[in-house]
């Protein structure tokens, strides 16, 4: 670009300031993680709202550290699962189970583990918090990668082989770009899920010690202890600002950018570019940096790294039976060993009645989840349909619902708790809505999306044949939005199970509210440091979630895909 070199413009100056500011902030936060754990201010926080920007920044940095770890995990685990048939035998089901395990219950133990790694340093606590966030983000991203890699178009794969791309080049030139749109979308969803965990994982107590990492989560925890509702409001405000900022600064541009990797050759909807992306494309400095990064990435991706040249595909070649057999035998041994360890561990600390109790409490929580799902469905489906069929409303509602889904609902618990305490309501009933507070939005925005995507010709046909009232709901719109509804409901119900651990127990100052349920059981055991019961509770909960998915949602989803779409 010969004419391109001119004096930097005003946007360059603005961008320059932003870059420097970001670097300084990151450096400051990084310093904070290296101090000893008992240094003044390292694990104490104050309720002064002026500290909130720093706390918000610390919390956000944790989010992004976890996101980086999740991406690394995605690229390795997801790729391994997709590339190796034998690895997939293990990796895919493991991922499936991991998705259903409420990691929140294990928080105490991961904290101990990481603190032992870095004795006496804040870094241990930080890593434990980051790990908790990681566990809420990684699985669906890895799944998205796995599914994309499994569906790379055959012609492109053949083309890359025929042009002698090495495995490494093929990965970066074909597979990663192909996976990008799905991955970006899942990353966005993961970020939303992560906020919930970051808030829950910053203030941890192990035995008698309580640590509060500087961050918004700790701030809220302290506000609850000190019964400071104003501080809670400040924290909610700070959170709103943070979510709005990363949504505007990071994800809107990312989603718009990733659209160019979409495989459909037909031009999709051409929404206007988000302002940040425009800024990056228009300012010379940012553009230069972008090109620098892009060129470096292209160089690395273009390296001919490969262990061996790809042999010709031999379709007739059968996979080796012996290796398969050895692999199965090895897996069998591992599973047997695991079972044995679990039995030994459980028999030492648990009796049969413990299992009965946990399952019983699990059933109570199950009832809660089912009732909540039904209520949320009855409430949000009509609203979602109404909004979705009116494009101008749908356009406005969609980002709001997405935003609400991203908002960590546990920040909103305090006002509810206050309400219950004040009116002396039964915690068993009134703590329940908290479980779905953050997850109901998935139902709403999926239904809105479904109704908005309802084909125009079917709308006209139903108007032409004057189908209305209950017949219209039954035969026209409900089947039409059902696949979307199921997608949203799966996310919402899974999230509700997880939320039970924080929602069935709530406190306000010295008042502690506790509902009967598996979530409260796990939270209680965690408080007491009763490892065996935590494990039992988590196992029972995971089992419930897995069964719920397999027996209800999977068949529903399969039915929706089979019967309710024309494709």
């Amino acid at each position: 670009m010969a004419a391109g070199w001119r004096l930097p413009n005003i946007w360059d100056a603005a961008a320059f300031v932003c870059v420097i500011g970001a670097l300084v902030a990151v450096g400051h936060v990084a310093q904070g993680t290296m101090v000893p754990i008992d240094a003044p201010g390292a694990t104490q926080i104050t309720l002064d709202p002026w500290n909130l920007p720093e706390y918000a920044l610390r919390t956000t940095m944790r989010m992004f550290a976890a996101l980086a770890a999740s991406l690394l995990f995605t690229f390795t685990y997801g790729t391994a699962a997709a590339k190796s048939r034998r690895a997939a035998l293990v990796l895919v089901p493991v991922l499936d189970v991991l998705q259903s395990v409420p990691i929140l219950g294990f928080l105490t133990f991961t904290v101990v583990f990481f603190m032992n790694l870095f004795p006496g340093q804040v870094l241990g606590l930080e890593l434990a918090s980051i790990f908790a966030i990681f566990t809420s983000q990684a699985w669906n991203m890895a799944f998205s990668m796995y599914q994309s890699l499994k569906t790379v178009p055959a012609d492109l794969a053949e083309a890359s082989v025929s042009f002698h791309l090495s495995g490494w080049q093929r990965f970066w030139k074909l597979e990663v770009p192909f996976a990008t749109p799905g991955l970006v979308w899942n990353t966005m969803m993961s970020m939303s899920g992560g906020w919930f965990f970051v808030v829950a994982s910053e203030a941890v107590s192990v035995g008698d010690n309580t640590w509060k990492l500087p961050g918004i989560g700790s701030y809220v925890a302290l506000a609850l202890e000190q019964k400071d509702i104003l501080a809670v409001a400040w924290a909610i405000l700070a959170m709103l600002v943070v979510i709005l900022a990363y949504d505007q600064l990071l994800f809107r541009p990312l989603v718009a950018w990733s659209a160019k990797f979409r495989f459909e050759t037909t031009a999709g909807s051409t929404a206007s570019d988000p302002w940040v992306l425009r800024l990056m494309r228009r300012t010379r400095l940012m553009k230069f940096i972008g090109e620098l990064v892009g060129n470096a990435a292209a160089y690395v991706g273009g390296l001919r790294l490969s262990f061996r040249s790809r042999p010709l595909a031999e379709t007739s070649k059968q996979p080796s039976r012996t290796v398969d057999f050895l692999w199965s035998a090895f897996l069998l041994v591992v599973v047997a060993l695991a079972v044995w360890r679990v039995v030994i561990f459980a028999s030492r600390a648990l009796v049969w009645s413990d299992i009965g109790e946990a399952v019983g409490l699990g059933l109570i929580t199950l009832v809660r989840v089912v009732v909540l799902m039904i209520l949320a469905t009855l409430f949000w489906v009509p609203i979602g349909v109404w909004l979705g069929l009116r494009p101008e409303w749908a356009r406005r509602a969609q980002p709001i619902a997405q935003f609400l889904a991203a908002f960590p609902a546990n920040l909103l618990f305090p006002p509810f708790v206050l309400f219950i305490v004040y009116f002396h309501l039964s915690p068993d009933v009134w703590l329940t809505p908290l479980m779905i507070l953050g997850t109901q939005w998935y139902i709403l925005f999926n239904v809105v999306a479904g109704a908005a995507a309802f084909p125009g010709d079917l709308k006209e046909a139903s108007a032409n044949f004057r189908i209305s009232g209950w017949l219209w709901w039954r035969k026209v719109i409900i089947p039409g939005i059902f696949p979307y509804y199921v997608t949203g409901a799966i996310t919402a119900s899974g999230g509700s199970w997880n939320a039970a651990i924080v929602a069935e127990v709530a406190s306000w100052g010295d008042t502690k509210l506790q509902a009967h349920g598996l979530g409260a059981y796990i939270a209680d055991a965690t408080d007491k440091g009763d490892m065996a019961r935590v494990v039992l509770g988590v196992v029972v909960m995971s089992t419930f979630v897995v069964l719920f998915n397999r027996l209800l949602w999977r068949p529903m989803y399969a039915y929706a895909q089979r019967r309710l779409t024309l494709a």
Binding site: D457, A463, I467
Partner: protein, 437 residues
């Protein structure tokens, strides 16, 4: 307008119908202008026109799905306010509910009228058998071929015994053979008096289809949509496509549709038309060269009869006319009375090599497409030789609908790139002179 008094009862009466979409600041976008239509019992009428001539819009107005901006629509003498009971529609895209079986899809209209179950099933069964769907009752639409799906669409419309059957390009999503079978089946049922309808109104862009099936054809002109011509088809059924009179009528209609709009007095007195008020049709340079080469070669040797050309290329009017008109725009060919003639310039283009062709094309672009000139001028004036496409699209949208503006811009981008008059960066949505000259 007719001296002979028609005594058959009148079903639909559209008078002074106008459909316009409001645009900010600028003139409304007129889709239909002053359209009158009277439909009586016992006739099949075609609305024939190019895409964008508003014929589908008129069909939706007649069905009550759409309210016209002004004008009145009367159904059996009373003003309609919403979807009419006596009207059933067949859709181009079939519009079957994918989650309902064939039987359930056919029954849905009766169910909406609260017809009791036993009667509903019996009537659906009759319609299904009549339309040749027997045995497919329990199939879901996705298990059926396109032709079978449209049969379901027909059965669903006929089962409610509508007085008026509306068909929106019912056969255009089907392959040639399937479409022909469905047409003849439908006409046979009509002639035998088995169709439980009083009249049929169909939208089509297929001239032969209109002449084959209809008693009356309303030919629409585009921008804005008007009834340009009304023709009676005098032939008795069954009609023979190879009959010379039939061919002559098809030829005549081609002539009507390619006739340059006689400058209406309104346009002549209006303010000078902006260079941007020229919607371009999405015609690629490859297909333009291809048609010119075909025309230059035997058997056409520079002149072709449009219906014959369309038949040999398996093109519909909607494919061929935009192509012909674009060649005419570049002065590569001339359309007259249903024929297309290659000009000397067109011949020169065909004989040229890649660079010469680009040269001729670029000259044509600069001479006859003002938008290209405007873009190039802006680029030449700017210090960085860059210009955002958004501003041109916005200006185009002042003169045409957003869809047309997007199409026009995309066409111009393709032409400009081929002629190497400017470069375009899709991601930044910017025109530039990078790598030019």
């Amino acid at each position: 307008m007719d001296a002979v008094v028609d005594v058959r009862p009148c079903l639909i009466e559209v008078t002074g119908c106008r459909q316009a979409y409001h645009k900010e600041a600028n003139a409304d976008l007129v889709v239909l202008d002053d359209v009158n239509l009277t439909l009586r019992e016992g006739e099949i009428v075609a609305l024939l026109g190019r895409s964008g001539s508003g014929k589908s819009t008129l069909l939706r107005i007649v069905s009550g799905l759409l309210k016209p901006t002004s004008g009145s629509v009367k159904w059996r003498g009373t003003q309609i306010t919403g979807p009419t009971e006596g009207v059933a529609m067949v859709f181009q895209s079939f519009a079957l509910f994918p989650w309902l079986t064939v039987q359930e899809n056919v029954e849905i209209g009766l169910e909406a009228r609260r017809v009791p179950r036993t009667e509903r099933e019996a009537r659906a069964e009759t319609a299904i058998d009549m339309i040749g769907l027997g045995g497919f009752e329990n199939a879901y639409p996705k298990e059926l071929s396109g032709g079978m799906r449209q049969r379901v669409g027909l059965a669903r419309a006929l089962v409610v015994h509508p007085d008026l059957l509306l068909m929106d390009e019912p056969f255009s999503a089907l392959d040639v053979l399937t479409a022909e079978t469905l047409r003849t089946d439908l006409i046979d049922l009509w002639m035998d008096g088995k169709l439980p309808v009083k009249s049929v109104l169909m939208v089509t862009h297929n001239i032969e289809e209109a002449v084959l099936m209809c008693d009356r054809i309303l030919v629409f002109s585009s921008n804005p949509g008007r009834v340009a011509n009304e023709l009676k088809v005098p032939f008795p059924h069954p009609r023979n496509r190879l009959d010379p009179d039939f061919r002559q009528m098809v030829d005549d209609i081609y002539g009507i549709m390619t006739r340059r709009p006689t400058a209406s007095p309104k346009a002549a007195t209006a303010t000078p038309v902006s260079p941007l008020a020229m919607p371009l049709q999405r015609v690629g340079t490859n297909i333009m060269s291809g048609l010119m080469e075909t025309l230059a070669a035997e058997p056409y040797a520079g002149r072709a009869d449009l219906p014959a050309l369309a038949a040999s290329l398996q093109y519909e009017v909607d494919d061929l006319l935009p192509l012909g008109e674009t060649l005419q725009l570049f002065r590569f060919a001339v359309l007259e009375e249903g024929d297309i003639l290659l000009t000397d310039l067109g011949r020169k283009f065909v004989e040229g090599d890649t660079d010469e062709r680009k040269q001729i094309f670029a000259e044509g672009l600069r001479a006859h497409v003002p938008l290209v000139n405007m873009i190039r001028q802006v680029l030449d004036e700017r210090w960085n030789h860059r210009a955002s496409a958004v501003r041109f699209r916005d200006e185009l949208e002042d003169h045409m609908s957003a869809d047309y503006a997007a199409d026009t811009l995309r066409t111009v981008i393709g032409w400009g790139r081929y002629a190497e008059l400017f470069a375009y960066d899709e991601e930044a949505e910017q025109f530039s002179l990078e790598d030019i000259e």
